[in-house]
Amino acid sequence: MNLTTSHLIALLPLLIVGTTVIVVMLGVAWRRHHVASATVTVIGLNLALLSLLAVLNVTPLEVTPLIVVDKYAVLYMALILVASLACSTLAHAYLEGLDDQREEFYMLLLCATMGGLLLVSSQHLASLFIGLELLSVPIYGMAAYTYRDRTSLEAGIKYMVLSAMASAFLLFGMALLYAEAGTLSFSGLSARMSGGELSSAWTLMGVGMMVIGLGFKLSLAPFHLWTPDVYEGAPAPVSAFLATVSKIAVFAVLLRFFMTAPATGDGWLHTVIAIIAFLSMLVGNLLALTQNNLKRLLGYSSIAHLGYLLTVIVASDGLAIETAGIYLITYVATTLGAFGVVTLVSSPYQGPDAGQLYHYRGLFWRRPYLTAVLTLMMLSLAGIPLTAGFIGKFYALAIGVESSLWWLVAGIVIGSALGLYYYLRVMVTLYLHEPGESRRDATANWGQRSGGVMVLLLALAVLVIGIYPQPIISLVRSATLITAG
């Protein structure tokens, strides 16, 4: 096939981010400058975001057999870019205090972002794998970035070892599928499946192995074990990145895979995925009950949220894409906001992050607006009306009810009730009168720094989406997937 201009336009976001990586890298090699690196990163990400407007003119377009750029991909690219923008601004605030090399962080972040962009537009198992590795490998480095802090180093190593194992499963699953179907493209697989040419047992095995690999990245129970440790140990902006960009990208491609090639059929794998979803809701929420560390708590809560989201895959019907889009948008805005506050309180870097709940005791009396933001995020995570989280939860429940998935509906209800309990605990802590023993506060002028502005914007977004979600809904509705090969 030949590359034409419109193909290049469709690839613009990838190309721009890739170029930014090189610019940042060469810039660092030439001369270290923290603010300059951060600025170049932010400019690159914004340019990529702007380029999406141009991309919209050429969608849907198959760029190679590996990559398809449709509206679905564009939506998730936008989400990934916004999330990594937020993470890089937060990282800037955070890294200012780090007495070490700070600039490489942006390189890693951009590389991972590129992996995410590739993932959401991949329509082929090969590009899926490349994208996933490109997304994951830089995160090893990011998680261990403040390596003088033992927990951070430990987080990086844990993530690396376990992630490598998950990738092995993924690859093996793909190999099985390939051996069975002789093709790696989603549409090819779909054709083979609907043609009934595949022996279902081996296909299911292959897809099952892939689910293990992807379930690990999505931190679904029972593959979630790494999540709290890594979230706790990694620097807060990295945890935010892990909880958002990584999850969006992997989920988007998983959904595309299942929507294009309905691989689970009615076999046992469908039940297994439903069990995974239910288990994630339960485990995430139950284990969060005992947590005294906000970052760990958010880790468990993300397990639960991904469990809710997995209902979409189990249902796999017409509403699925819309639900996933809405849920991910609301989840990302909220999670970024929550981790944003944690980052600001821990910024600039001064040893391990302020993750313990007692760090936040009585925060209201010291940083009232920041506390208000965190409260809003907690409410949104709990799915309280008038916040973005409610819209997401509404969709998740609606799709569960529509597809008569009673167990999952029960899971969402019970899980959310448990969730209410521990989110409230955090909120109550914030407003207690007695101050905590050790004080970690955001800098007094946090609201005027880029990270602070980002957090305030996120809070605004959470409110606006909660009160007036039409624009988001119509946006997501327009983001259709092309399923034809």
């Binding site: 090699a29 099985l176 095995m205 509404f394 409230l424």
Partner: protein, 931 residues
Amino acid sequence: MTLLLIVLLPLLGTLVPLIGIRAGRTYCAWLTALLPAVALGITLYLAPLVFSGNVPQFFLPWIPQLDLHLALRLDGLSLLFVLLILGIGLLIILYARYYLSEQDSMGRFYAYLMLFMTSMLGIVTSNNLLLLWFFWELTSLSSFLLIGFWSHQSDARKGARMALTVTGAGGLSLLAGFLLLGQIVGTMDLSVVLQSGDQVRSSPYYLYALVLILLGAFTKSAQFPFQFWLPKAMAAPTPVSAYLHSATMVKAGVFLLARMFPVLAGTDLWFYFVALTGLVTLLYGAYFALLKQDLKGVLAFSTISHLGLITMLFGLNSPMAAVAGVFHIINHATFKASLFMAAGIVDHECGTRDIRKLNGLWRYMPYTTALATIAAASMAGVPLLNGFLSKEMFLSESLDAHMLGGLSWLIPALATLGSVLSAAYSLRFIHDVFFNGEPKNLPKKPHEPPRYMRLPIEILILLCIVVGLFPSSTVSGLLNAAVTAVVPAGYEPEIDLAIWHGFNLPLLMSAIALGGGILVYALRHYIYNFHRQFRSQDPNVIFEASTQAIVRVAQQAIDRFENGSLQRYMFWLLLTALGFSAYGLIESPRLSGNLPAQSIDWAVAVGAGMLCLSGLATVFFHRRRLISLIMLSVVGMLVSLAFARFSAPDLALTQLAVEVVTMILLMLALFFLPQKTPKESSGRRIMRDVLLAGAFGGVVASLNYAVLTRPLQSISSFFLENSVPGGGGHNVVNVILVDFRGFDTLGEITVLGIAGLAIFKLLNRLKLFMPSSDMEGRPWSPERFPAILASMAQSLLPLALLVSVFIFLRGHNLPGGGFIAGLVAAATLILLYMARGVEWAQQRLDFQFQPIAVAGVLIATLTGLGSWVFGYPFLTSAFGHFHIPLIGDVELATALLFDLGVYLTVVGATLMILANLGKVTTPHRPSKEKR
């Protein structure tokens, strides 16, 4: 529009107290009361319209995609509730003015209260299921704020949290129920839903919808077994209890029952779920109300009991019972609110709510005593008061319930029992507190409360009496209007609100209830003694204990699974994956496929055996890293041999070269790493790991076997067929690299070049300390560059370079190519660097590697561009055969030029990276940490 104001005014009212508090406490109260009063006026203004059978509606689109709109309606039922909410709300505002102490933030309290009022009004006027739910959740939240108002008390915080958790969970299940209901009917519009009763009842999803919605209603209205949160919520300030837990919030649940009555009621399921739950709650609450020693506890349990009564009435499936239910909602709200306020006065003036201390208060507060007595009498069902009327309707309806067949007599019997207990605890409330001796050790000297604190009670008591005396002229209009909204059209019963129906069975039951109540009260000490035999099974304790148990289980799960140990995580991850795949294997029909088994190739078998052994040895010797590394190199070697054996010489060569380079890197890394590896695994753990790894290997091997015995299509045939006609080369791998996938290769070498440059720059300032002795303290040999190696490397160099050129040149047709050749050259050069040291080598190889890499990329790009000159697309390759004398037929392809670029880039980039690694060592120990 006027309808919207009813909800909107109190919402605006949340801001008033926050601002008005600056004007002083009394003004603040008055200002706060202003907007609800206006709203009440509007409601009264609209009331005649409703009485005449109209239903004012309001509609404003909000989120059409979710079918959620700001749709309001004011039918009879809504009107009744709006009047209750606003009317009692105003009285509470007045009462709270005197109840709250100086330290309490009055502005905050009123703001919460108004927020709650708004959400409550929203529930009762919503004309959209989702909007209703939306306000429902808002009541949970605002009640959380109100219950936890005294946030310094851990009791209040716990109570608030429990209330929110229980009602919030119920709320979510309600949402699911509404979504299902909306799906059955096809819209969330309540007016349509109310008309679709038959459709809903015949739907296959009816059961699910019913259960989900009832869960919401029962949690909110504290029905058994969810009743436990209500007594706990008594930690709230008394005005809150009076408002939320008697008149409004807990009524939201029964309101929902009334609202959904036309849609969901009328089936046996409804009766069994609703009526029986109500009956159990009625008895349960009544019994415990008799036992509680806390004044508000008594009231809380009596509220539970009365809510059970109302629930049961709605569950009886008869229109008349529904009327009685609605009527009792009004009556209960009036007398219970006044009782709560009276309890609040007692608490306020005496400083305690303990019934054992409170006695004989009539001497100190005779007026309050009188008011409380009337309210309690109404609660007990004494004639001429409103409570009597609805209770008698309840008793007569219980006689008409025949759903239990031969056991139907149980229902009136138990209903009477409930009434007996109700009379008993009412009597206890009055007699124990206000009479019966002298108060003991009161913290304060009691006296009558301020005038205006009593006023709300007086108004409510007046209502009790007036309604009790002249029911038909006071409430029948309201009741009629409400009933038309509850009962399906055409079934409206004739409402007869007379006080005297003649001597009949219900009257007898009422009489039994009162008489029995007095008797039970007289014998209460026997009941106390009886009850003492049981271990106190406080549901709060059970809830707390179960919460604790859940937390404990969670903690155990964390300790077991998530103790921070990577090995543990690996173990569980592998174990689950093993479970999955083993299950998959069990499910699959047959392991071996259609292909016949091939005969065993002994060379391969031996190689495979060695591969396994060396893999095992790598793990086995992992603590002795050098040996382990050597074993690893054996693995690499065998893999390359395997490639060679399976006719992929290109891959074999590449693998070999890569293996060498990797080994060198690993050796270098080993040099810097700590030399000792502590022993970490116990024998048991090793055993476990061996078992797990063995099992996993078995599963994976089975899968591989299954795949290998099945026919396989691959893409290789395309390249095999096209490599000579399309690319002019017999070496397919090389043709793919430089021709079919030329563009990819160009990209790759560019990346390689850039990466090399970046690593070169980044390593520039890195300094690592060079250890001078090994793990046992023996110094490393001072002779850093052994002579044998040096001379060998030096003599090998020209040979190896020659080999690399040879491999490069023949690459297009025979195994070889630029990439491999580049690696071979690089490996040789690195050997020289190692043997002679960086300085020595650099002096002799007096050129930089960066330009070589850049030149490589440039050559490759220019080759690609060259094809443009001849009018072909980028990177089109051309080839031709030339006859050179003496040498023979020679094929030259532009691809060769491209390959040269690859060759140079590989050499340049690899050496940039590796040659400089030698320079990072320094014999000088750094002066500790720089920081």
